[in-house]
């Protein structure tokens, strides 16, 4: 379940009292609800599901994860 796609916030605005934004996915744009990801700014990435941002993407964690995977073979098993 739960098709989610990371996208970049290009615009943030208020719509009838809730925070909405335009999120870009590799050239495709769609409005998304940002009402529960309060600490985001333009340029941040969010994970969007059914037009709703579930969370801000954590770039540091992503880099760290990739680094850990890339080193994984060196871990003695």
């Amino acid at each position: 379940m739960c098709l989610g796609i990371p996208g970049k916030i290009t615009k943030i605005y208020d719509a009838d009292g809730i925070t909405m934004g335009i999120v870009e996915y590799d050239g495709a744009l769609r409005e998304a609800c940002l009402s529960t990801v309060s600490d985001v700014a333009i340029g941040d990435y969010v994970m969007v599901h059914a037009g709703f941002a579930l969370c801000k993407m954590d770039e540091e964690e992503a880099i760290e994860t990739l680094r850990a995977f890339d080193e994984i073979n060196e871990i003695p098993l």
Partner: protein, 360 residues
Amino acid sequence: MNFIEDFRNSDRAKKLLHSIHSITHKKWVIMEMCGGQTHSMMKFGLDQLLPDQIEIVHGPGCPVCVTALELIDKAILIAKNKNVIFTSYGDMLRVPGSNSDLFSVRAAGGDIRVVYSALDALQIARENPSREVVFFGIGFETTAPANGISILQAKRLGIQNYSVLVSQVRVPPAMELILSSPNNRVQGFLAAGHVCSVMGIEEYVPISNRYHVPISVTGFEPVDLLAGIFETISMLETNSWGVKNAYSRSVSEKGNIEAQKMLDILFEPCDRNWRGIGMIPMSGWRLRSEFQEFDAEERFHVAEIQSKESEQCIAGLILQGLKKPADCKAFQRECTPQHPLGATMVSSEGACSAYYKYRR
């Protein structure tokens, strides 16, 4: 950083596969809890690359599949109403109820519209004040905030022609049901990444401890899935358990607290029927009484409808990891995506559908 491509990188995936092969010595059964994971697994053919000892089974992680038959029947009844615009996520249209499906209602003149988000359904309600607009609010914890915000907005803005047919389900009670079954074969779980983006990972810790079962919170790209499998096998092979987060770029320990607060305002836990499985105690969410005016079951007086599933299909056993699609006599014969007999063939998310599509 490319949040998708970097996690589809085939070199990285191959390295992880190599690691999985080198640590796997015994036979293990791992269940993934998310239809999206089933799909990715099949789409990228990852199961072909895993060690033979690892058996991946597909849990009840597809909200389209597990939506109870009586809710589909209720949806169909409501949608037949001439004054109703019935809105839904796309793949619910195909799901058969007892005698019909939403496609057929549309063909017979029902006004049924596919929406991308619940807020789009609310917008349709604002644009059509003389019509009743109903949204089919299916989904797990991931989808609950997206569905829920439309109800909060409707209340705040005083939009009275909008209601939601609520069919929210929760993952942890289903996991517990599977683990507590005397026939359980599942030894480790890949928890659903985006569910945990909302809910965090803490509620899985007691489950892991109670049943001594390793749980890895797992994403959807090949590298994510392999990382989740690697973490789970590592724990299984060392006879340990716990909850590992293999999807930390979009899952934090506490999850999305703002979203959880919103869900708490809107919903309260309730028993819910899962298609193919039956009633799971406290496995669903229903609207709290303050929001009852937005409950389509109340508004259209369909709360009492009961339906009975046909007994031809083994979807329930598949959803609990006891059987695989190919074990079903009807698979690919009487039961195909064009003519689904049961829940798991219905949705493109379902295990049977994914097997049919990618592997035959």
